[in-house]
């Protein structure tokens, strides 16, 4: 496996300014609501430099929710290709991490890390399990992933 590390000032700036793009790969909307929760006054991730952006070209982190359905595979891979590197892929929720209750179902092509790594074996993937994960858990996952960049 290729491990790409970002060094020096690039790493310093990247860790303080993470723009995230939200990818729904067949989620039930529960994790999505928890992500939106992060932007509200209670958690306010903008104080850490995190911003939700509308285009994967602007993004430093992809927040992928959902199990990764067969319909979603191509889209998730395309979005990953369009994201400017270095970037981190976050698997948010039990489904994205390992299939959750849908594991082995007919429509499932995931989990998400396998879908992403079939495009780029060196992709940096972080996992935040939970159904749905608490906003605190997502925050702590983001912090740990950034420390590993």
């Amino acid at each position: 496996m290729v491990v790409r590390r970002t060094m020096g000032w690039k790493r310093w700036a990247l860790r303080r300014s993470v723009w995230v793009f939200h990818v729904n790969a067949g989620a039930c909307n529960n994790c999505d609501i928890e992500i939106v929760d992060l932007l509200t006054p209670r958690f306010d991730v903008e104080r850490l430099g995190v911003k939700l952006v509308g285009s994967p070209r602007h993004a430093d982190a992809l927040l992928v929710t959902g199990v990764g359905t067969r319909q979603a595979v191509k889209r998730v891979q395309e979005v990953y290709r369009q994201t400017s590197k270095p970037c981190v892929v976050f698997c948010i929720g039990a489904c994205a991490c390992g299939g959750g209750i849908f594991e082995g179902a007919y429509h499932v092509a995931g989990p998400v890390d396998r879908i992403v790594k079939s495009v780029d074996p060196g992709a940096i993937v972080a996992y935040v399990p939970g159904c749905p994960p608490k906003p605190e858990a997502i925050l702590s996952g983001v912090v740990k992933a950034l420390a590993a960049l």
Binding site: E46, R47, G49
Partner: protein, 319 residues
């Protein structure tokens, strides 16, 4: 110091690129911080806009396969240099009288350049979302240029005394008058404040960049260094455009002694007004924006022009 070097320092360091950029980044932090406070959030730290740009410089710049490479790459450079020139011209009008006649017209042209560059760059990116953003940006430019030009007509009528055989139309000459203190000048000021809101891509006129439906619109396909250039351009605009309003409408900034604070207060007032409008309005549709600028602002400014003419003819300064 030789004259050439002197001008180079003027353009690149103070009060040109570096100074304006530092000020612009501070103001863009202010915009985000105040928006956060209005929404009962904490908001980003002071260095956030700078860190954002540093991060973008360190990222990969992707260029879409079907994009027109030259235009796509050069558009942000063109926009940036236009705004930089505008900023330097405006700062210079504050300190020296040695401007060429009619540089206010050049300033008006330079103010269109960023929008024009945005239109060129996004239409070169071969993306349907960016194309939607382009068409909205074009309609927006068509909408707000009319009120802006009319507002400038009001300013010129107020600034040129009746019977002056050789009127000076330079920015430095305009900076000696404060037309905002008259009825027609106030109307013109309000209309151009809203036009500049549209130029900056601020709510209620951010439909060209709308993140929620167009995924970033005109800027959608830009990443890395090129996106950083656009962000730098927007930071410079955040200083240059309010400065234009202060110079043209509010009597400029007097740089001698304590009266400088009064000038800075004018600039801060324009920023505060812009941030308040941004935070208390929803985004309007493009047809609503066109109707607003042409019908309402246009009519208001028509009245303002007539009032200014009457005031000039009969010597009533408050009209």
């Amino acid at each position: 110091m030789s004259t050439g070097l002197h001008y180079l320092v003027w353009v690149l360091v103070f009060p040109g690129f570096l100074f304006t950029l530092a000020l612009g980044l501070a103001v863009s932090w202010l915009v985000r911080k105040v928006s956060a406070l209005v929404q009962w959030r904490m908001g980003p730290p002071l260095a956030q806009p700078l860190v954002d740009i540093m991060k973008l410089l360190g990222k990969e710049a992707l260029i879409p396969e079907e994009a027109h490479l030259g235009v796509f790459v050069l558009a942000p450079v063109v926009g940036l240099s236009g705004v930089l020139l505008l900023a330097v011209m405006l700062w210079r009008s504050l300190v020296s009288e040695t401007a060429f006649v009619g540089d206010v017209i050049v300033a008006l042209y330079l103010m269109v350049l960023p929008s024009l560059a945005l239109i060129l760059g996004s239409s070169a990116s071969a993306s349907p979302h960016a194309a939607m953003g382009t068409s909205r940006e074009m309609k927006l430019v068509l909408s707000y240029e009319l009120p802006l030009a009319l507002a400038l007509v009001v300013v010129l009528i107020k600034a040129v005394p009746a019977g002056d055989p050789a009127p000076s139309l330079s920015l430095a000459a305009l900076a000696r008058h404060a037309p905002v203190l008259s009825l027609s000048g106030l109307l013109a000021f309000l209309a151009s404040l809203l036009s500049l809101q549209a130029k900056l891509g601020f709510i209620p006129f951010d439909m060209a960049e709308s993140e929620t439906e167009l995924a970033g619109g005109v800027l959608m396909e830009y990443s890395g260094v090129l996106l950083a250039l656009w962000k730098v351009m927007q930071a410079l605009m955040l200083v240059a455009l309010p400065l234009f309003l202060v110079v043209v409408f509010m009597g400029g900034i007097d740089l001698s002694g304590w009266s400088m604070l009064w000038g800075v207060a004018k600039l801060v007032l324009v920023w505060v007004l812009m941030i308040l409008i941004k935070n208390t309005n929803p985004r309007v549709r493009i047809d609503q924006a066109m109707r607003f600028f042409w019908v309402y602002c246009g009519t208001g400014l028509g009245i303002a022009v007539v009032l200014a003419m009457i005031g000039r003819q009969y010597g009533v300064p408050w009209l």
